[in-house]
Amino acid sequence: MLRPLITHEVGSLAKPAWRVKAAAGRPLTDIDIDEARGWGERLGVDGYERLLDLLRRSELSPAERTEVKEWSSRYGLRFFESAGLDVVYDGEQQRSEMYAWAIAHANGFEFRGSVRSFDNKYYSKAAVVGPVSLKAPFHDDEYELLRRAAHRPVKVPVTGPYTLAAWSFDERYRGRVDLGKPLADRRRVHRAARRDFVLDLARDLVRPNVEALLGLGASWIQIDEPAGSTEPSEVGLMAQAYDACVSGLAGTFSTHLCFSDYELFFPAIEQMTGCQQYAVGFANYDSRDLGVSGDARPGYHVVRRFRDLPGAPALGLGVIDIHTDFIESPELVRDRILYAVKVFGDPDRIQVMPDCGLRTRSWSVAYHKLRSMVAGVSLARGVLGL
């Protein structure tokens, strides 16, 4: 899979104000248009003048709004390519959000309202109320667009079944609970309901969507499970659902895990035989000091557990904290990589990425972080003689 220490993004990127406003039919300001011009020039987006022409119009037709979203995808693609990443996507510019987009294209759900995720960040949470199925493949159009536009290989992020279940209310599988019943009985019902819900999502929603992408020529699909360790006793279910999504299919399949106590994933993820790469966020837990010793890299001690997984999968090493505007220096990125390579003893199994999607950062901050990440990889390659 490409060369050692390849770099890639993980998922989301903030949506530019011009994209948000145009899609919502709200008026744009000169600042919005200048932003589109500035990034178009900086990233070398071919034909971006057409976007500026669209943005200057007082009103956009539905087809023109769709065209603006497509421009947003081209900008996202060039953003990552220009930053120097080896494998790219569009920062999920076509999608409302990783959960809501999938649920909006599924049968069996109703949205209930906004719920806090952290700080002032909220997401729209749905309840499963009926049989789960796929309305229609929901990444095909974006993939077709990006496949044609990309100058580098692409990796398609797909929200995983366990995360979709964990982020939903359950009004169907478990139903109303009588708190007067013995706890052991209630827990047994809960476990069975959860298992049915997650595996239905894997078989009837995520897998057909993955199959559709493979049919269009997608070669690397990342099944995101940021909620994977929400209930530690269910990590085995998450692993089982992952394999239900990809078993028997031809392609490169990876997963993304973040903001968890990663020890909780072991040994359950040893069952995930269909997973060729684990993209995991570590920088959020690490020191900003330089150094490649264990003391200098407290956020990375757990990488040894990924080293020992059966089948020797690659590790996508999160080296950029996506929750702060702090720009990691190339030297700090280098040291995080060198520590992981030292633990693994094999740079071919280490790939480099931000901890998670960068959508909570401005484009300017995200770009600086990614450029620094790429520079850090160059430094690490130099040290390792690659």
Binding site: R112, F118, D178
Partner: protein
């Protein structure tokens, strides 16, 4: 004779309008006053809802708080915000408090709004979640003495009639038996002579194995999470009051009044606590606002009917 009441503890969800306004302010689309104005509207509506529902103590909802630690971290120069960590087994994250200096509450910075229900993290949970803490039992004592007690006093000074200590770590992750006396001592430091009621509430886990110790805590009531606790384990003689976390903050299904009354009546008969309070099992900000509002109405109605039944 058992005194029966109800109240809503914890962080209350923001309305869709406030979520949008806050997002717009953060992204520079609106001035800060837009979110502040909407927050005042949300707070007024929540207070009106509680009064209409007949809740015994009225909470402000703590709508500006990002998590239960943040106001204390921001009011204590010896604390800093650390990395995001999962809030127990939920799709919600809190920023770890990092101990980086002396623990001391700057009372001017701890600018909590007027509320009849004060809210603080319990000393045990706080000491377990904190980073850079060293000896956690010493930290628990220091937190109680230097941070939580002054904060509880601030709530009392601003009109609180009850202070609610959230202790999810107890039921979710357990506690070694030898630590209980230190926890009881820390709770005593917070509550002694405070002049308002004190409740310690544990949730996100089975409180059954903890009952004998909870029952001896020097508080007015201890809270349990009935979605995770066997009702049978609550039977016996309670020296302290009991808070029943019976509105499920993690379920979108709104509880039935009849079932809630029947459940509470059964526990009342079997436990005979001096004080019985009905509430939610955890903060309701794990729900959208409209569903939380429905649960508040059930809470009030169920409590009223329970009083009539017994």
């Amino acid at each position: 004779m058992t005194e029966i009441g109800c109240y809503q503890h914890g962080l209350y969800p923001r309305s869709e309008e406030l979520v949008t306004a806050t997002r717009d302010v953060e992204r520079g689309r609106q001035p800060a006053r837009v979110a502040e104005a909407q927050q005042a509207v949300d707070r007024a509506e929540f207070i009106a809802l509680q009064r209409e529902a007949g809740l015994s103590f009225v909470s402000s909802g703590f709508l500006s708080w990002a998590d239960v630690f943040r106001p204390l971290v921001e009011a204590c120069p010896g604390l800093a915000t650390g990395p995001l960590v999962r809030w127990f087994d939920n799709n919600m994250f809190a920023r770890t408090p990092v101990v980086c200096g002396p623990l001391e509450l700057d009372r001017d910075l701890f600018a909590v709004e007027r509320t009849e229900v004060g809210l603080l993290p319990g000393p045990y949970t706080f000491s377990r979640m904190a980073v850079g803490a060293g000896d956690r039992e010493k930290l628990m004592a220091a937190l109680a003495r230097d941070l939580l007690r002054p904060a509880a006093e601030e709530f009392a000074r601003r009109g609180a009639r009850l202070v609610h200590l959230q202790e999810p770590w107890l039921a979710a992750h357990g506690i070694d038996e030898e630590i209980w006396p230190a926890l009881a001592s820390a709770v005593r430091v917070i509550g002694d002579g405070l002049g308002v009621r004190l409740v310690v509430h544990t949730y996100f886990g089975d409180a059954g194995p903890l009952v004998s110790w909870l029952n001896r805590l020097p508080v007015d009531a201890v809270g349990v999470d009935l979605t995770e606790t066997d009702v049978a384990t609550l039977a016996g003689t309670w020296q302290t009051g009991l808070l029943l976390g019976c509105m499920d903050g993690r379920s979108s299904l709104v509880e039935s009044v009849d079932q809630t009354v029947a459940l509470a009546a059964k526990i009342l008969e079997e436990a005979r606590p001096p004080l019985l309070l009905l509430s939610s099992n955890c903060d309701l900000d794990l729900l959208p606002r409209s569903l939380a509002d429905s649960k508040i109405r059930v809470l009030g109605t169920a409590t009223r009917q329970l009083r009539e039944v017994v």
